[in-house]
Symmetry: C2
Subunit: 444 residues, 2 copies
């Protein structure tokens, strides 16, 4: 059997107790995941045994101070710092890629370049950096700021930050360190490249004090969806994580990004687009729906109402009957289109407050698929083959069960269809993703 040339990329998006907001309450969920390192070892090994391209951790540097009642009922305010966690997981895995989020708004490029270069060395070439700009004030408050800088300036800083990091990763030629005991020459100073960066946000001299990494450079991932986010990604991202609700959205985004690449001298294959998928798998459709209902029933109304209140732009719905209709809402300063979308949906489908928050509680904006291995594989295959995705970021509702279900039930189906590997072909994250090892000094 000849292997189809194009293969699905799969990331395991690991998140504490799970992606469903009530996932931590599932009887089989590991409620103390946030401080249980052994739990993550288990998940990383599970994902590696299943030949996922990578595990991925999101990040946030703040705990929100509003809706304390909801904060008390969700598992989102304590978790491992992603780079320490990934480094530890590097030591107990061999092949799987390791992607962590670090914000350009609250760090220094020298430190970020160094940590990912170091992780790439430790892991033998498996590191990836998800570059985000952050969007919450509660994070800004932990970094000497009263407000988050505005969107445009966050992206300006992010673009320069990226360029500094790449420049630092290229401080040394691949063969800069002969380490020759006989002659006493440890390094070749001709192969050292001082950056001397002076820009609007940063002055960084370099060089980095880490030799060039096994991958040449760690893989750059991005997850911004705004116009500035897309444009930065088109120039610099090698992998894009994104949230879509529908196939049409996915196709439009995919075409948009790939269409921007030629302007930067890049080809379609240089960037892998990976929407998030929130899968609930059953051996029959009824079983899948039952599993999903079991999770939905665990959503505390306090949590659901707070979530909905914040999603529709900060309007407090807690004074209204949770089983009554959505009240008329005042205009807000928040994202208006999202408010309108949800209110229209509620009016059209005659949803109560409870029914509406349950619509959004699970997948947090990502595509929710509740079905059999066949129906889920059908959808992934369609997105993959018809211009919606190069792969997917799998967001299990709870851990480890939600991930095990995907591995045990959906992966065999994808493999039967020749869409996903049965063994790793290479050793680095670039190998898994089919991304070229960049030459030193070549910048996007």
């Amino acid at each position: 059997m000849s292997k189809p040339s194009r293969q699905l990329r799969l990331g395991a998006f690991l998140m504490q107790t799970g992606h469903h907001i009530a996932g931590w309450r599932h009887p089989d969920a590991q409620a103390d995941a946030s401080r249980n390192f052994r739990h993550y070892v288990e998940l990383a090994r599970l994902a590696e045994a299943a030949k996922f391209d990578a595990i991925f951790f999101a990040d946030s540097s703040g705990v929100r101070s509003t809706h304390l009642g909801s904060l008390a009922r969700t598992a989102r305010s304590e978790f491992f710092e992603p780079l320490t966690l990934l480094s530890a997981l590097a030591a107990v895995t061999e092949r799987i890629g390791l992607i962590a989020t670090v914000s350009t708004s609250f760090h220094e490029p020298f430190n970020v370049a160094r940590k990912f270069a170091s992780l790439d060395q430790i892991s033998g070439g498996r590191a990836g950096w998800n570059l985000v700009t952050s969007s919450s004030t509660s994070e800004a408050h932990n970094f000497n700021l009263d407000e988050l800088p505005d969107h445009a300036s966050r992206y300006q800083r992010a673009a320069e930050f990226h360029d500094v990091v790449l420049g630092l990763w290229d401080s040394w030629d691949d063969d800069a360190f002969p380490r020759d005991k006989a002659s006493g020459i440890y390094l070749d100073t001709e192969k050292l490249h001082v950056l001397e960066h002076r820009g609007d946000f940063f002055k960084v001299r370099g060089p980095l004090n880490v030799s060039r990494s096994p991958q040449g450079r760690p893989v750059v991932v991005q997850a911004g969806a705004s116009e500035s986010g897309r444009e930065l990604a088109a120039r610099t991202a090698e992998v894009i994580f994104v949230a879509h609700q529908t196939f049409d959205e996915a196709k439009a985004f995919y075409a948009d990004i790939k269409g921007r690449l030629p302007r930067y001298g890049r080809e379609a294959d240089d960037v892998k687009i990976m929407p998030g998928i929130f899968p609930v798998v059953g051996s029959t459709q009824a079983e899948a729906e039952e599993k999903f209902e079991q999770l939905q029933a665990l959503v505390d109304p306090v949590v659901g109402v707070a979530l909905l209140s914040s999603v529709i732009g900060g309007v407090d719905l807690s004074a209204y009957d949770v089983d009554g209709p959505i009240p008329d809402l005042p205009e807000t300063n928040g994202p208006k289109s999202r408010q309108h979308l949800l209110v229209d949906l509620a009016r059209r489908d005659k949803l109560t407050i409870r029914q509406l928050y349950l619509r959004i509680a699970g997948a947090r904006g990502h595509q929710q698929v509740v079905g059999t291995p066949q129906s889920i594989a059908d959808q992934l295959q369609q997105w993959f083959e018809e211009g919606g995705a190069d792969g997917f970021n799998i967001m299990a509702p709870y851990f480890p069960g939600g991930l095990t279900d995907f591995v045990d039930l959906v992966l065999p189906e994808l493999r039967r269809r020749g869409l996903f590997r049965t063994e790793y072909e290479g050793r680095t994250l670039r190998d898994h993703f089919g991304l070229k090892r960049p030459a030193r000094g070549s910048y996007p």
Copy 2:
């Protein structure tokens, strides 16, 4: 046999290829240590099997741009970033403490608090932070600065930085997270403490997004020797690393620090003082000296002269005959006392340039002991019992051999004398050091 109550504390100060400047050229040295994670796994396990209290990594965020000829011949410009490395080592060890250096001058307290809290969780209570203020301009140049801030303001920032980090580590009561699936209560908001810090250098709201760590707080280590450094250490350090050349120096420093503690309501036992020791061990004195000569012979004159030139305050000695006397030197802006000390020594002992740089090439200011297991144990015991030290930071000349020698030859002698443990008594770094677990909200 009744165990003596006071036991030596021992740290294994790991440093790339070794502490001797030419250690990397030793036939048995691991020349590629700086990018060889397996090498560090071996060292960490060796130190753990030997029941060291901790392994320790120094840090620097810059590569110097002067004396390129010497840079080319030393192994100091590429190495793992300490926190990623220690996190990875946490996953492959069980008991040994994990201490990393992070500078307060080039980081944000929220990030530092979080990473060490996370490492403490990952390792089950084995993290320690060596708080330094940094002293090199080549580091400042990587963080938007033209010059290093002056000494006083570095220490002001360091003191406030420390207080913010401790405040963040105390964001949650030990029992703040019931994670009760039945009631749906994940955390108890009454047990959440928002920091709301507003100082001269930092505005940090908190709370930290990591629950209170197994040790209560990671152990705070310091290594500054100036007046400001000592005073900060007296208030805040739990362990002090220090470099001494003589027993008299060690005693004076020890008495000075312990004498400062009562002013901060602290007791002598609350701070462990650990000078560095650079041991070269032989089964006879002659064998030890031969081992040392083997290392000394590997020091390239380019490296030795550059080292000496910088130590005596930036005077370039490369134009002089390496086997001739020290020339008359102009007064410098550098540390004058050190220049005078060395020049006096050279004049008194009639040393050539080569002989003088060899005097300082090995231990970099720390106590150099070249001897038998007995004579080395004698000295450690004297310092320990006569008011010079609570323990030692062992700085092997090269790795792994230099550390293996200490473990195989000196440790049995220390154990015979009842000075060092044969088994770990507890599980956390605090347990090893005999440091109390701090109550939440109690600050130095």
